[in-house]
């Protein structure tokens, strides 16, 4: 069990700065998610912690041990689950899980015990004699987790382990994973590009873009108080609406932001609510079952620039009709408004 310290970490591939100065403090026992799109550096960062990539500069500490030098992966007390699970195809499930123990020369009887213990934890005991090719994706993923578990690592590293599962499976797998981590309380670093996954799993989320950390915080902090426009639009589906509201009371070059679920017909709000009203020209309504997405544009923006598409997210509980092609009065509670500098993208208080 150990925390991880990352200081001024950089990884350059020639001119490409894959990781461009990252500082992180990961607490012991925490489930930390590295969230970003491809090229954000999240996987490179994970691999440097694992020891599969050498940092160009900076420090990594796992517990008391400084590892950014020549410390090989097996000496770092880590276990890793790869996106493809990387099971050994020519070995049975039992032999797969036993492999790291054999490499550490654990005596045979102990290996047997440990493998069975891990297999029971993930309910795959009946698969022990099968080969990976005979298992489904979800089963293979559990084998990979078992293999990671048997080493009693101080840190779990997971590289998009749910990416190869069907959408339906992903939800239950997510739940299983979180409960499992809560149970064994090992520090876990989890890489994903799926922000729903990140929000659902992480104790804290690290939002990364182009090698840099944009924001670190709990899901709630990241969602409700994004530190810049990138985080604001990356986290949340549909993304936060951003526009120049043409509000003279705001400093110039300020963007106003509000999330689609806060953008509702004015009549929904009670009287006396502190609201910012908009005239919403509705273009199209999508009926998605539990929600309706309403696409349109808002008057009052800068007339010379093309109007950005604004999205409203109406839950099914709001049943009123929203005819397309008409303009409606929509509003956002003032406490839900966020402001950003139009040039730097950073959030600002107003």
């Amino acid at each position: 069990m150990a925390g991880i310290e990352v200081r001024s970490l950089r990884k350059h591939f020639g001119d490409l700065h894959a990781v461009d100065g990252v500082d992180l403090s990961i607490r012991d026992g925490e489930f930390l998610v590295l969230l970003g799109s491809s090229g954000s550096g999240k996987t490179t960062l994970l691999r440097m912690i694992a020891g599969l990539e050498r940092p160009t500069s900076g420090e990594i500490h796992i517990g008391d041990l400084r590892v950014d030098g020549d410390v090989p992966p097996r000496a770092r007390g880590i276990a890793m689950v790869f996106q493809s699970y990387a099971l050994y195809p020519h070995r049975t499930v039992f032999q797969n899980i036993a492999f790291p123990l054999e490499a550490s020369r654990v005596p045979k009887r102990q290996i047997e015990e440990k493998v069975r213990w891990a297999a029971e934890m993930f309910s795959i005991t009946r698969y022990l004699d099968r080969y990976p090719r005979q298992l489904s994706g979800g089963e293979r993923q559990r084998v990979a987790l078992c293999r990671a578990l048997v080493r009693d690592p101080k840190v779990f590293l997971l590289d998009e382990p749910l990416a190869n599962l069907d959408a339906k499976l992903r939800n239950t797998a997510r739940d299983d994973l979180k409960r499992f981590q809560r149970q064994i309380q090992t520090t876990t670093v989890y890489v994903t590009h799926d922000q729903v996954e990140a929000m659902g799993l992480g104790d804290r989320i690290v939002v990364m873009e182009r090698g840099k950390v944009r924001q670190v915080g709990t899901p709630q902090q990241v969602y409700e108080h994004p530190v810049d426009t990138f985080v604001a639009t990356f986290v949340g589906q549909p993304p936060m609406n951003l526009l120049d509201a043409g509000d003279p009371s705001l400093p110039p070059r300020t963007l106003t932001g509000f999330r689609p679920e806060h953008f509702l017909p004015k009549s929904v709000f009670g009287s006396g609510a502190d609201l910012r009203t908009f005239r919403f020209a509705v273009r199209r309504v999508e009926y998605l079952g539990s929600d309706r997405y309403v696409y349109g544009s808002v008057a009052g923006s800068d007339a010379s620039a093309p109007a950005p598409t604004i999205i409203a997210k109406l839950p099914a509980t709001i049943a009123m009709a929203i005819p397309e092609g008409e303009t409606h009065e929509f509003a956002v509670p003032r406490h839900a408004l966020r402001y950003f500098d139009a040039d730097t993208g950073l959030s600002r208080e107003v």
Binding site: R74, I78, M80, F82, A86, L87, Y88, H90, F99, A103
Partner: protein, 300 residues
């Protein structure tokens, strides 16, 4: 407007027409002679006359009682197995070396390919010169290094000559095997190797427990081709020793040539060559098995 199916659209007909010359060639000039060769082994045909008389198993009985043939059969096995073992060792080592990057790699790669590229007969004549009784540069080097105190009459001594043949076969085939193994190594998913690294496996454990098992289909292909190229080879032995000294280093192909072509005894020549078939059938079955295994998704 209705379209009559013109010839240009008849895919099945087009396919047949395009395939016909090749099929014809193969059937007429490979299939038929193949069958004919087997038939010949049961005959007393000679190259001189056009006669063809059945002798049943006479040829086979004759050669199986002939110590020279039995020796040739044994030699074929010894040379094939010996050289392929050497090839596997050399190719695995070479593949490991050529995975890494190092200075001069392009040049090294070029040199490594030379034994495979050069015509068999020319390589054989060069090695004959290298093993020459009086002028052998190998003997000189060994003596200069203090490793040799007597003298090695390479091509004059039956055992040494066989060893020389094995060396030459391994020498000319291992580059080919190396390239195949290298291709196989690069097809092993990198994540599996990395998983092994993270799991704590060192270099040797990774090599023997992860990489080599996954390489087995590819190594098998290399070995199968190597077996074919060695067992059916005539040039190396013919030029190096001609089957001598005193018929002690004959292999099946050279003996078949000596009896069947030089000696004009087509029947016996065919019978001797037929003994190559078991080698080749094993190879064919091996390749079919491999192809089937990967279809069913053996090691994915």
């Amino acid at each position: 407007m209705t379209h009559r199916r013109r010839f240009a659209d008849r895919e099945d007909l087009l396919g047949a027409v395009m395939l016909a010359p090749a099929l014809g060639y193969v059937i007429l000039l490979v299939g038929v002679p193949f069958v004919f060769a087997i038939l010949l082994s049961f005959s007393n045909a000679t190259a001189g006359s056009l006669s063809f008389g059945w002798t049943g198993l006479g040829n086979y009985a004759a050669i199986l009682g002939d110590p020279i043939f039995l020796r040739a059969l044994r030699n074929s096995v010894v040379v094939t197995v010996g050289s392929q073992v050497l090839v596997v060792v050399l190719a695995t080592a070479a593949a490991q070396v050529f995975r890494a990057t190092f200075r001069g790699k392009r040049f090294a790669r070029f040199v490594l390919l030379l034994p495979w590229a050069v015509p068999v007969s020319l390589a054989a004549i060069a090695w004959t010169w290298i093993f020459d009784s009086t002028f052998s540069v190998i003997n000189w080097t060994l003596k200069a290094a203090g490793l040799l105190h007597g003298w090695l009459y390479w091509l004059g001594d039956p055992a040494l000559a066989l060893l020389a043949i094995i060396i030459v076969q391994a020498w000319r085939i291992f580059p080919f095997a190396t390239v195949i193994v290298l291709a196989g190594l690069s097809s092993i998913p990198q994540e599996i190797v990395e998983a092994a690294i993270v799991d704590g496996a060192g270099f040797w454990r990774r090599l023997f427990q992860v990489e080599l098992p996954l390489l087995l289909p590819v190594v098998a292909v290399a070995v199968l081709f190597g077996v074919v190229y060695t067992a059916t080879d005539l040039g190396v032995v013919y030029i190096l020793t001609g089957g001598g000294p005193a018929n002690t280093t004959h292999v099946l192909p050279t003996l078949a040539f000596q009896r069947g072509i030089l000696g004009a005894d087509l029947g016996q020549g065919a019978a001797i060559a037929v003994f190559l078939l078991p080698f080749l059938i094993v190879v064919a079955i091996g390749m079919l098995r491999l192809a089937h295994r990967t279809e069913v998704g053996g090691a994915r």
